[in-house]
Amino acid sequence: MSQTVSTTKTHPKLQPHFYSMEQQLEASTLGMWVFLVTEVMFFGGLFMAYIVYRNMYPHAWVEASAELNWRLGGLNTLVLIGSSLTMALSVRAAMLGQKKGQLINLSLTILLGCVFLVVKFFEYKAKFEHHLVPGPDFNPALEQGMQIFFSLYFMMTGIHAAHMIIGIVMMTIILVMAAKDSFNAEYYTPVEVAGLYWHFVDIVWIFLFPLLYLLGRHGA
């Protein structure tokens, strides 16, 4: 009757409603891709607002962008690209069942994520000191439109940072699982799926960095 019931059914990590490990892995990765589509739409609303207002206040946005520290932003970009590399290496190590490789690379990923957040913290702190945080304290001498830039800057980078924090928590859980020898060639779904998420969060930053930090920098 049911020829598709696979012989791998005995695998302890197979949930009872799946027929096989392949089906389980495919469902999980497809699930993460679908989830990432919702994330694209989520950030999409912010990017839409960005497009509209940049078009409305082109000059003010160049002025506002000049207030951001592109060196720190650039450093953070490198940090995140590095973390994507270590993430990819962790997935590879999990597929090969190399425990040491998993532990080193996952730890590095977490470390780089934390470095990113620390740098971000100092950037935020500088904005408070320079009266660039929207609200009653915002420097009133600045051009119309600059406050909206900073509202969007804090929304976009703030939500991105929240995603980073979730990612770091996820990686910590994965690290603990890896330490308990949970992953091997047959079962590495959580690492794979968490990796997709991590890469997505990096890519959002790759878009945010030039759009926020590098306006009007060309030819300077």
Binding site: V34, V37, I148, M155
Partner: protein, 542 residues
Amino acid sequence: MKEAAVQQEPSYLEAPYGLASWLLTKDHKRIAILYLISITIFFAIGGTFAAMLRAELVTPQGDLLTADLYNKVFTLHGVVMIFFFLIPSIPATLGNFFMPIMIGAKDLAFPRINLLSWYIYVLGAALTLTVVMLGGVDTGWTFYAPYSSIASNTNVTLAAVGVFITGFSSILTGFNFIVTVHRMRAPGMTWFRLPLFVWANYATSLVMILGTPVVAITILMVAAERALHLGIFDPRIGGDPVLFQHLFWFYSHPAVYIMILPGMGVISEMVANVSRKQIFGYSFVAFSSLAIAVIGFLVWGHHMFVTGQSIYAGLVFSIITMLVAVPSAVKTFNWTATMYKGSISWDSPLFWVLGFMGLFLIGGLTGLFLGTMGLDVHLHDTYFVVAHFHYIMVGGGVMAFLGGLHFYWPKMTGRMYNETLAKIASMLVFFGFNLTFFPQFILGYMGMPRRYHGYPPEFQVLNVMSTGGAMVLGVGYTLILLYLLYSIIKGPKAPMNPWGATGLEWKIQSPPITHNFHETPVVTEDAYDYIHAPAPQRGGEE
């Protein structure tokens, strides 16, 4: 016989007992029941707000509710009914329960995420009820900026967070459905053998995952503007409130299709059954669901014809709005064609099917009036709009939900309800509904604006009719609640297939076992093969 052995295994209702086994369940059927209970409570709460509105509108003077209180009541009516009843109504209950069974799966792809979605819903609901306790919110369910972001001094931030959180329960349901349809189908269950209910829920899920995140971020921007001064829509610093409307309707228009598409799926199942015929134009009905989902994303500007958006943009939105009528009409024509020369059964499902078609037809056609730019300038923000969307959401959505509930009740609970009472209730709902909302078309056409607690005396007769209809509607809904609850206790046991319907869900015992199937089914036939369907067997008729 095999049947006897089959009955030995306990059903999903009986499996393990106890409150904890329900609250921590990963069974999609139990989660559907949890959702069913929650949305019924919210339907009652939203209905109470509606009763308050209609009571106020009996007299032209605003004498029962003050203007401020009236604003809060219609806001809460909208928020509760849309976010806590209509959006989860069919997908989270009937969809959750039957979609996996219809495709021959043991469960949704992510059972734990399914349970999580219910808890997220409950959390959002708790926040919204807190808002009610704290004195309400008065922005309308649309949360238009800048009123919501800088002017209103009610609990907008908390209400926005509540809606934001609830949005994620809807995203998780949609996401789970999409993966399930792609990856969990039984052997032989090809895409074109899927029941149309599955197609409709799939299309709905696409809207949920593509639209809901956009409204989530939009509502979050409003909350951030209030709580953290991150002014994005604030005109004082150069922000554009119309941008809020664009972002809001980018989700909230497709959200209308979240409310109606699953209902169309339910009706497709039921219409084939009451006609005892293969559905007419299966693939057209299936693709029209996808067409509605896709075109539905391109029409949001028709909510904004009078905001000062470009008239050329309005023109395009108007034309695309007309286009949505095409797939909707395809469905309606195909349902009627299915009934043509069918062997119509005079059972209670027929009443819901016909009621749905009549009300949806009126709701859909009046939508064309509103999609016409010139006419919309006259009808915008009047009771004509209120009547139109209630015909779609309540006339269409709720009628289909109740119809589906009646159709699937024997399978879900293993009990039969009283057929005569069901017929009476469906008639009460149908006529009560028309009496409530048809006068509102006339009121709107004569120019009565929505969202005011008073009105000129010449509008009173029609308003009294509307309130009278609302009372009939209330009686109808209460009657349904009572006899369905009674049937759980005293109703006769339901057989496996009381309606003689096709589909995997009717080939398993009522109520189903926890894993749905004893062995993985292999599908060898198309959907709605009514030539080979078993005859209805109604069990113990009362």
